[in-house]
């Protein structure tokens, strides 16, 4: 060591070791033999787990031990789920266990699940390319779960917050026990027969590993795959991924999260509607601005229905402006950023629109000019033309004694200028 001041304190060493070990160490299943099992009066359990080569000390706190399904027996082969933990005061490592399963139960269950997984994979049901996108704005969502469970309440709560006005259609099914697979399959088939269902959430609240068996069932997985609308699985378990999760179009960790995935956030959509409204207004205003004076001039030269249509169109525009403006004003404080973005987008759009509006109007005016004689003639006016076809517009154009024609609504009439 070159410099004594670089030496670490023991605390720093302990703290660093703790961080290095504990950070990013996910909950992990470990297989081993239980030795030195002791239950303290506090309710916590202490034991070690060992195999032929190594041994690790374990703790299981009272809260986790309360969920134990089997007593911890000296010498038993078990699977434990846990994470390592370092006690800084002694820099001693303990594996903190949250769940214990007997090896035989675990082994049999795991083998059966693996067999089903392989069958599903062989039939292509686990292919990521099968996954369907969720509808952006579902109107009616099917929910397959137990109406007595927490999952349905969680989904209702989240759905009401994100997207009031949504319709949830719940199909009741047992989610654990021997009847669960058949009931889930039947509920899935039933709910998708309700008209208008755009999406199905199938799941349950948090449960132990044994409780998830229905979601590793072959029939349930195939029913999910066969569902005519996208399916979100929501088997509330953070650690385990079930086969249903693999087959579903989207996997959510919990029912609440499933509702979040299923529905857009109302506030986001409100902003989008607001921005679209502003853009519509901007486009309309530039349209009106560029055309208004041209309309005014055209109005003087046109009578009848066309003018009335233009007037109506103007009124509709003004009306619409009046309807939208208060709505915009109410929301100005929120989407300030959006407005800024909108401005940068609208300004050039308005300029372009004005320029284009002008040429549009020129074309329109030309069309109107071409049409106007017909309308005018229809009301009893006539156009005098000289023999060469030129229109006779002033007194000077009429040469005494000269023949000319009058174009009227339905044809021409020969005429002659009398002496003035």
């Amino acid at each position: 060591m070159s410099n004594a001041e670089e030496a670490w304190s023991v605390s720093k060493l302990a703290r660093t070791l703790k961080r290095r070990v504990e950070d990013d160490f996910p909950p992990t299943w470990v297989k081993g033999e239980l030795v030195g099992v002791k239950r303290y009066p506090s309710g916590h359990w202490y034991f070690s787990l060992r195999d032929e080569m190594a041994k690790v000390d374990c703790t299981m706190w009272k809260s986790a031990a309360a969920r134990l399904k089997l007593p911890l027996e000296e010498g038993a082969e078990v699977f434990v789920l846990g994470q390592p933990n370092i006690w800084e005061e002694r820099t001693s490592l303990r594996f903190n266990v949250v769940q214990v399963l007997s090896a035989s139960a675990m082994g049999q269950g795991a083998q059966a699940v693996e067999k089903i997984r392989q069958a599903l994979a062989a039939d292509g049901l686990l292919d990521p390319a099968r996954k369907r996108p969720l509808p952006p704005f579902p109107a009616r969502i099917g929910v397959v779960t137990s109406t007595a469970g927490a999952a349905v309440r969680d989904i209702i709560t989240v759905a009401s917050r994100r997207w009031p006005g949504i319709e949830l259609v719940v199909a009741n099914a047992a989610v654990q026990g021997t009847d669960a697979p058949a009931e889930i399959v039947a509920a899935l088939q039933l709910v998708t027969r309700v008209p208008g269902i755009d999406l199905v959430i199938v799941g349950r609240g948090g449960g132990g590993k044994d409780d998830l068996a229905a979601f590793n069932d072959d029939g349930v997985c195939r029913a999910i795959a066969a569902c005519p609308v996208p399916v979100i699985s929501a088997v509330g378990h953070e650690v385990d991924v079930t086969l249903a999760d693999l087959v579903a179009d989207v996997r959510a960790a919990t029912p609440s999260q499933a509702a979040e995935f299923a529905l857009p956030d109302r506030r986001d959509v409100e902003q989008r509607v607001h921005v679209l409204g502003s853009m519509l207004m901007g486009a309309a205003m530039s349209l009106v601005g560029s055309k208004q004076d041209r309309v005014a001039r055209t109005r003087e030269r046109l009578g009848g229905a066309l003018l009335e249509r233009l007037r109506r169109a103007e009124r509709r525009l003004l009306n619409a402006q009046g309807r939208i403006a208060p709505a915009l004003a109410r929301r100005v404080e929120r989407p300030r950023m959006q407005l800024a973005r909108l401005e940068t987008r609208l300004a050039p759009a308005m300029h372009r629109r004005i320029a284009r509006g002008r040429s549009t109007m020129e074309r329109l005016a030309a069309t109107l000019d071409a049409l106007s004689p017909l309308a005018v003639l229809g009301r009893g006016y006539a156009i005098p033309r000289a023999a060469d076809g030129n229109v006779l517009k002033t007194r000077a154009d009429f040469v005494p004694g000269a023949p000319f024609t009058l174009t009227v609504a339905d044809g021409t009439v020969p005429a002659r200028v009398e002496d003035r």
Binding site: P164, V170, A187, V191, R193, V269, L280, A313, T360, R363
Partner: protein, 77 residues
């Protein structure tokens, strides 16, 4: 159960298309006005849809209506 021919998604998609056409396209006045008018209608429909407050929760029964669809009942919370 109400029939909803156009969804909010339809309205928003159409609105975006209308705005794009008004901004980018060379349109005759009448066409532009018709588009704008439709846009205002869609905007209103979208806002009304967003204003809906009630979440409806129903339970599907294992009983069927004449058209073969399952019957549903409001679910008591």
């Amino acid at each position: 159960m109400s029939d909803t021919p156009a969804t909010l998604g339809d309205d928003l998609k159409r609105l975006e298309e209308i705005v794009r056409r008004l901004e980018d396209d060379e349109l005759a006045l009448e066409q532009a006005l018709a588009l704008f008018e439709e846009g205002v209608g869609r905007l209103k429909a979208a806002q009304e849809r967003l204003g809906q407050a009630e979440t409806r929760v129903m339970q599907v029964l294992n009983e069927f209506a004449a058209d073969g669809s399952p019957k549903v009942l409001p679910l008591d919370d």
